[in-house]
Subunit: 370 residues, 2 copies
């Protein structure tokens, strides 16, 4: 995988770059909408493309359970199955196995668990993880990892890191299609020395890139920022740095400043379904009584369909009436906002105005509306 | 209201026509998607327009309760509130008061009832009914009526019809904006003589048109067809004939043959959300196991986005996973199908081939998939 850096920011570690996948050139910094089950909830792939997304994230564990790899193989991959023509990154789903399934047992060989859907007994090890992602034909595959909780004892973090390292090595052995990328995942909980060791050992093994896992699991924001910044300095300059599972608009800007290039998060889509919109001034809880007859759009400065055609008062009515259109319109807006935010960050980096952009954003974005 | 007939079918009572409203010319026969609460569920107004719908139906009773007329007045009507630029017909909601609200009491003056949302005590009489629809700025308003159940004693049907007649007269008195149409509603349950009397007395009163109410309430299909055909011969030739609340694709074709011009029904949208699609060969229950790896579209001959881009296997996966996109894609398809069906009926009438079209449709549409 070749990651080209177009421009580095002089005031921070931010950079603008791009890399090619089989399906699409991905320009960074980039936000990947989450399409766990082969659909980004409440939006069509046509609209995702229209907004401008170049890559989405899906989940190998979830798709393995339903509809199952046999089904997706018949379609020759996830792209055709779900009608998405651009790039797909699949998370292995290690995190989901731990959080969703019962009766899980972790050994050096992999994870035995019961399906959270029907209780079936299943096993996923590095080979299975790669087999699943191969049948999905993901543009970017993630290694199987163990994601320790927060807080986490050092001894457990160390043991878990060793497991993640061993699995990463195994995954690489089963990675045959070099046209598709394989990203490893740096673990080590909140211990800098473990994080550093994990990163260095993965780098000496050699992967297309090195994602940062095990963050956004309940730790204080300062610890997330510290770990991201610490690792950003260790990880190779010429690979895109992907921090898994973050975050708010403010966090993304701060993480970009620290040199992170790739993001995914359920926040824009999940919040949309709960009636919360992101705007350039902060979050808007659409159901609030104050919007009852508000004829203004969610965000005066936003050019998305929702903001051009619908008012806060109407959106409030849709959420009060539990109408599906409410989730549809807010999902569209929130994803448009996230894409716009990253697009503007990129443009600012290219123009050498990122520091100014960040300052302006923070001045107008209500910090208490996290 | 001027209803122009372009062509009459020679083999049946079907006709192709059009009428103008403030917002749009409506070509008949026409199907109106149901947007009870100011949104046709799971589809955007942009998509409704793209499909080709010229008129949708909404519900005065529901909008009166939520968001309330004060809100919609601020938007200067329902069109601006919901971002729908073409025609809107509003049902008075008489039927919904009876079916949804508690503690209702009907007097000659109107209906007292408790809101099905919050229990508030409310009253709607002919004046209130017209006030609500005036604030909605509906293109076509419906009079307040009482819709008797099926079966219904003759004595009750007669009494109810008298009430409906009295209310219709009152509604007309409160109908001041002649740029908007007022349709009366023929009641009389399953008694031909009452139906005839009701129709004739409404006609002598004079309304923009005379809808047929009180059908699709549980009576056998033969009785619905009989009543529709019976009234179609009595109602004026030069008004569009609107049968409220029907029906299946086969029923629509039969009713068009009987001279009915306007339809509304929740069937295409509600069935879509339950995972049932309408096709030119009959209904398709998307969740069926047989579609698990089916790479064909819902309907090979359909040109809608859903059929051009998505397979039965993927749609099945979406419904099994309870994903909103499933409801969105099936709603689009079902409404496209209904619009296409009526569009083709109209074209066939204009070409003088309606009888052949009807025969071909029935030969390919599975009658058991009702």
């Amino acid at each position: 995988m070749k990651f080209s850096i177009e421009k580095k920011d002089t005031s921070s570690r931010a950079r603008a770059g791009f890399f090619h996948t089989k399906h699409c050139c991905v320009q960074t910094p980039v936000f990947m909408p989450v399409g766990t089950l082969g659909t980004v909830k409440a939006i069509t792939p046509e609209h995702l493309q229209k907004i401008g997304f170049q890559i989405i994230l899906s989940n190998a564990y979830h798709l393995f359970l339903r509809p199952g790899c046999d089904v997706i193989k018949k379609y020759e991959g996830l792209h055709a199955f779900m009608n998405w023509k651009r790039a797909i990154l699949t998370d292995s789903g290690g995190y989901q196995i731990y959080s969703l399934s019962q009766l899980r047992k972790i050994t050096s060989g992999g994870v035995s668990f019961s399906s959270h859907i029907d209780g079936r007994k299943l096993f996923i090890g590095p080979k299975e993880c790669m087999d699943i992602q191969n049948s999905l034909r993901s543009d970017i595959m993630m290694v199987l990892d163990e994601c320790p909780p927060y807080p986490c004892e050092r001894s457990y973090a160390k043991k878990s890191m060793e497991l993640t390292l061993a699995w990463a090595k195994k995954c690489k052995e089963f990675h045959h299609d070099k046209g598709r990328c394989l990203f490893s995942i740096v673990q080590g909980a909140t211990y800098d020395d473990l994080r550093q060791e994990c990163a260095e050992r993965l780098m000496s093994e050699g992967f297309d890139s090195y994602a940062i896992g095990g963050l956004s699991v309940g730790e204080p924001l300062s610890l997330l920022m510290h770990t991201a910044g610490f690792l950003s300095e260790i990880l190779p300059e010429n690979s895109p740095r992907y921090l898994m599972g973050s975050g708010t608009p403010q966090d993304l800007i701060d993480l970009i400043s620290l040199g992170i290039d790739m993001f995914d998060c359920v926040m824009p889509t999940r919040n949309a379904r709960n009636g919360t919109a992101f705007t350039w001034k902060g979050k808007v809880v659409v159901k609030n009584a104050s919007y009852k007859t508000d004829k203004s759009p969610l965000d005066e400065s936003c050019r998305c369909i929702t903001c051009r055609k619908y008012t806060r008062g109407y959106l409030r009515h849709l959420f009060h009436s539990k109408e599906i259109l409410g989730a549809m319109l807010l999902t569209y807006h929130n994803l448009y906002f996230y894409n716009d935010l990253l697009r503007r960050c990129r443009k600012a980096i290219l123009r050498g105005t990122f520091s100014k952009f960040k300052k302006t954003f923070k001045a107008s974005y209500d910090p208490y509306s996290r």
